[in-house]
Assembly symmetry: none
Homo-oligomer: 417 residues x 2
């Protein structure tokens, strides 16, 4: 089944607010075999809303619309879609009482008159109760198609989606001849250390044989994710095809593959350390704490990660990490000998078996012809084994730092693996 | 001037990737008086791309299209839009050489053949060079209207937007009769330490007198931003109205206001430190490096920030920050006496005049009835003055950590200010 999502909000178009609702809707409906085929965002404007919803209904016969239901926005979406369905608004006394009770319960005094309009319901429409807010969801349905209106506040939207919309779509599908037959399901293989195009070359030949599974490359600062999606297949078949495709790809990805789904590299590394009862310390210069932050983002990281030093000055490198003064003078703070001394120093200070270290020039200042911005040295140590490397990362300060942190963690992962 | 944004990507529709490009485009173009009136997302599908772009051109005559330009996606957007403009593809030898040089510089071996298609350019189209990636931007323009194709990778898209698209639109507008007549302009007042509803109560009465300026509350982990927007007013008038509105609101916000626009609290604090020639060190337990990461995200932070200790174990607290063993035993690692000892210890070790420290229970594990998850102690020191506080933050691990980092930086800001 295909449908479209229409999100309403001038703030969304201004670009100050990210549209998380459309993403949440897609993820919640995929397991039902629903494919979101288009997403449209329009301003808080009656004509724009009406035309976007009407076009969506023309194309797919099913539109989920979020936003523009609050009292301050004058329920603009409700009015626009009610016009489209030629459904006059009528006061729903029961809902009005629900609203009044809600205000009494919150102890915020009597209900403001502006909220009264929220109890006006288009004739013939199903009201989806919204226990978290004042604007109910509305389910319009006639021969034109189905339009479901949901509030724009993400928490309210998600609750209505889960408790009202998903069950109704599920029931509707089961009532169809053939019942609830298919799903849209994805699996994500995460890789790091290889460019999108190099990865593409390596697996290009395999892609023809993935058997009705689509493959998307999703590059980012953490590496390239490969997203495999089974489209509208019966449940078991989707699982089987995905398993087969993963089985085909995994061996080719080799050590570049580090995990599935939304697992982070830091979590994978921490698990490796935990299994071998190893402890980790970090020495960070240009990343300034980012590696520590990534590690401690993982619940339970304290089992393996004991801490580290942010040595954002040469003084700290010599004092806290015992990097010899002479080394700094001879090679500069951004150099392979220094990063090796840093990882030694931090393992010594924290008495850990493993460590990672980073030093580099994140930019925008500080680059030289010999060591341009983006020049980074990383090191990883495990007992007597010490690996180090020099890298050059493109991009701005934040990107260089993110890639550096990821590369350092990855160096230790590979060393342990 | 109105335009539409079309973002291409099956993974956007699947809801696994948030559409940051559309938001970035809107923000970059608003200062030019450009209003994004609709945003559409379609799959990696030629027919869907063609119809979305064609509809956008029909409505506004100007479409910015992102995504679907990578080598692995077979440059599907380029092909679809080239069809729409009836422009045959031709190999651009100069661009091919640029691509080859790029691969040579990255030291990743010879250019994969899949990248060759990226040097194929539709006839008559302006090529917008992309120094950060392999897919150039493309500017289609004829009587149908303007379609600008940009790569989907956010860093590449932003760079092209800034260096190629904005200047071209600006030039075009200036060439129009009457020149650049109106703008859409926003100013954002950033606050921290006050809830959205408390803020709302405080400024509710003022909101009626903002004179054609709209006000939006944008709450997040860093605090609540207040966004003031002037809609399509002449340049000078927009500035005046905004200045007047800011002048009305600022005094009411008091010390909760910390900056304007997209300035980060860490940058504000670093500037305070720089002006007073003070140096800062950090001691982080539950934030694990996040404060250091936030500080060093700011270019030039090394002027004031010298480093710190991530003490993710009691051992590190006593050894590296000289927190007395007895204090840890009597009060526990998450306590006000310990956070005060931490900030003292880190200032001593790094010989700085100022310091911040955090210890807390970010969750999901580790909470007790007395100290539930979200319990955090923060401290800030400036010379002899030492402030500390206990806080409880709602939300999940990441949110607690983000709010803790922000609160610690804010404590020092207020102490200095």
């Amino acid at each position: 089944m295909d449908l479209e999502v229409v999100t309403v909000g001038t703030e969304l178009l201004l670009g100050f607010t990210l549209d998380t609702n459309a993403a949440d809707i897609a993820r919640a409906l995929a397991p039902l075999g629903v494919r979101v085929v288009r997403r449209t965002t329009v301003a808080d404007d009656t004509a724009a809303i009406r035309s976007a919803v009407s076009e969506s209904l023309d194309r797919t016969g099913f539109a989920i619309v979020t936003g523009g239901l609050g009292p301050t926005r004058d329920d603009i979406t409700k009015r626009a879609v009610a016009e489209l369905y030629a459904a006059p608004l009528e006061l729903d006394e029961a809902y009005l009482q629900t609203l009044r009770n809600r205000f009494a319960k919150l102890g915020r005094g009597p209900m403001p008159e502006t909220n009264r309009s929220q109890a006006e319901v288009p004739r013939g429409v199903a009201v989806l109760p919204n226990p978290r807010g004042t604007a109910p969801g509305l389910w319009f349905e006639d021969t034109t198609g189905v339009a479901v209106l949901l509030p724009g506040v993400p928490q309210e939207m998600r609750a209505l989606l889960k408790h009202e919309v998903v069950p109704r779509i599920q029931q509707g599908r089961e009532a169809l001849p053939g019942g609830q037959s298919t799903v849209v399901r994805s699996r994500t293989l995460r890789t790091t250390g290889m460019s999108e195009s190099a990865l593409g070359e390596q697996i290009a030949d395999l892609c023809d044989n993935l058997g009705q599974i689509s493959l998307a490359y999703v590059p980012g600062v953490s590496g390239v994710d490969l997203r495999l999606t089974a489209w509208q297949l019966p449940d078991k078949q989707a699982d089987d095809r995905l398993a087969q495709a993963v089985g085909t790809l995994r061996p080719v990805l080799g050590r570049n593959f580090y995990g599935e789904g939304d697992v982070e590299l830091a979590a994978v590394l921490l698990q490796q350390l935990r299994l071998s009862e190893l402890r980790l310390a970090t020495a960070e210069s240009c990343t300034g704490g980012l590696i520590g932050a990534k590690l401690t983002e993982v619940p339970g990281s304290g089992d393996a990660y004991v801490g580290g030093v942010v040595c954002y000055s040469n003084e700290s490198k010599t004092r806290d990490l015992t990097v010899p003064e002479a080394l700094l003078q001879r090679h500069g703070a951004v150099s392979e000998p220094v990063v090796r001394a840093m990882v030694d120093g931090v393992c010594g200070r924290f008495r850990t078996e493993t460590g990672v270290a980073v030093t580099g020039i994140a930019g925008p200042g500080g680059g030289t012809p010999e060591k341009p911005c983006g020049t980074v040295y990383i090191a990883a140590r495990w007992g007597d084994r010490l690996e180090s490397a020099g890298r050059w990362f493109p991009g701005e300060r934040d990107e260089v730092r993110q890639r550096s942190a990821q590369a350092a963690l990855d160096l230790l992962r590979r060393l342990l693996g």
